[in-house]
Symmetry: C2
Subunit: 214 residues, 2 copies
DNA sequence: CCGGTTATTGGTCGCATGGCCAACTGGCTA
DNA sequence: TAGCCAGTTGGCCATGCGACCAATAACCGG
């Protein structure tokens, strides 16, 4: 407290301001959708004038793309932390899938749905989505390969298995999304376990093996 | 030709005009996205004034929701025709899945992605999506049940199997969509066959059984 | 303490959207 | 043929958007 760098700063350092804007935009994207990221909206949120946001992001599309990348990265780090090296691959996978199924990450699946659709119209976002997709796919494939080496998984196509799992997770996200706040929500046991079941089947694990790891 | 009802009609009958507007809006939705359905856009397409569209659809959201329903219904009738009674369930399913994998129906999967996302903001569309989802799910479930009765499929949870297939199809649609027009497009055999493989596994069919039905 | 750099302001523009409404006129009916 | 109903027009409004820019003032270095 005694040695606070800028006690009563009015103007912020560019890096600090830029990061602040990005963080705010990412939060808006997760909570309300990427199309709600607006120069005015972000400015209001930060208590500054819209022009300032435009100053840091001359093209609004850039802000949207970077906000998505920021949000997707942070969420992935929570779902599939890179610094869990001490943990066995099978346990990392189990945690990843269970966290997803938790429903806690409804916002994230909505964000992906949002981004995938919006990328149809926004070049920069399309590239960002592709990049994030690659990162996730690569990380999961590496995890599976590590598990194969460790003798925990049995598959001769780690990428194929990763794709199957990710496609399933994505499909589930779409479904869950549709009836998010309706009471008519479809509730079937197959939906709850689908991702885990798929992973177990794809990796040569017995039914219930993954869930049992918790 | 001799007894053409309205040879040079300028003003159209309400039902006729309304259907014409809906058809146009549905086409725009399939080709360019639901958010391109605009009073002005549809009007231009039909060579009339924007106000006229507003006259038939006092709330623009209604037009969007009905256009989606129209497009989704037409496309479903092509993919899974109801009047194929002569065909065995297993053959109907095989045709359904192969048609989907064809890639011919990229527009349709994009439309669903579009609708699922946009339904977050539009009440009417949300209901329409739910309704269409129910129709498709019900039709596929009935098809599977018929196959079980005929001894072609083996499952004790037709709905669960239908859900698994539909979730997979949806997930694939999302993936295919993302890299639609990029050359970096991910190409893995597991993706091409995933829906069919899932169906075969879920229905107790041997690998390659479904594709062999063509 | 002063001068220059630049973060920030505050406003304006052009554009697209949906909604609204009075006026016009095509075409049916009595 | 006269008249009326309603399909259709044309124009207006408020709103929200991104882009742009000159002016201002906060901060930092000399």
């Amino acid at each position: 407290m005694a040695s606070r760098p800028q006690p009563t700063r009015v103007r912020k350092l560019p890096d600090e301001r830029r990061a602040e804007i990005l963080r705010t935009a990412a939060r808006i994207a997760l909570e309300e959708g990427l199309e709600r990221i607006t120069l005015r909206r972000v400015a209001d949120e930060l208590g500054v004038r819209p022009g300032l946001i435009g100053h840091y992001f001359p093209a609004a599309d850039t802000l949207v793309a970077e906000a998505f990348t920021d949000a997707a990265t942070r969420e992935r780090d929570t779902l599939l932390p890179a610094d869990e090296e001490g943990l066995a691959p099978i346990d990392r996978l189990a945690r990843f899938l269970v966290r997803l199924a938790d429903g806690t990450y409804l916002d994230l699946s909505r964000l992906w749905l949002n981004a995938r659709h919006l990328s149809r119209f926004k070049e920069g976002l399309r590239e960002a989505v592709g990049a994030q997709e690659t990162v996730t796919r690569t990380a999961l494939t590496a995890l599976i390969e590590a598990g194969v080496v460790a003798g925990e998984f049995d598959t001769d196509d780690a990428l194929g298995a990763a794709l199957h799992i990710l496609v399933t997770v994505d499909g589930l996200g779409s479904y869950a999304n549709a009836d998010a706040d309706i009471d008519v929500r479809l509730d079937h046991p197959a939906l709850d376990d689908m991702a885990i079941t798929t992973a177990e089947h794809e990796l040569g694990l017995g039914r219930g093996t993954l869930r049992a790891r918790l």
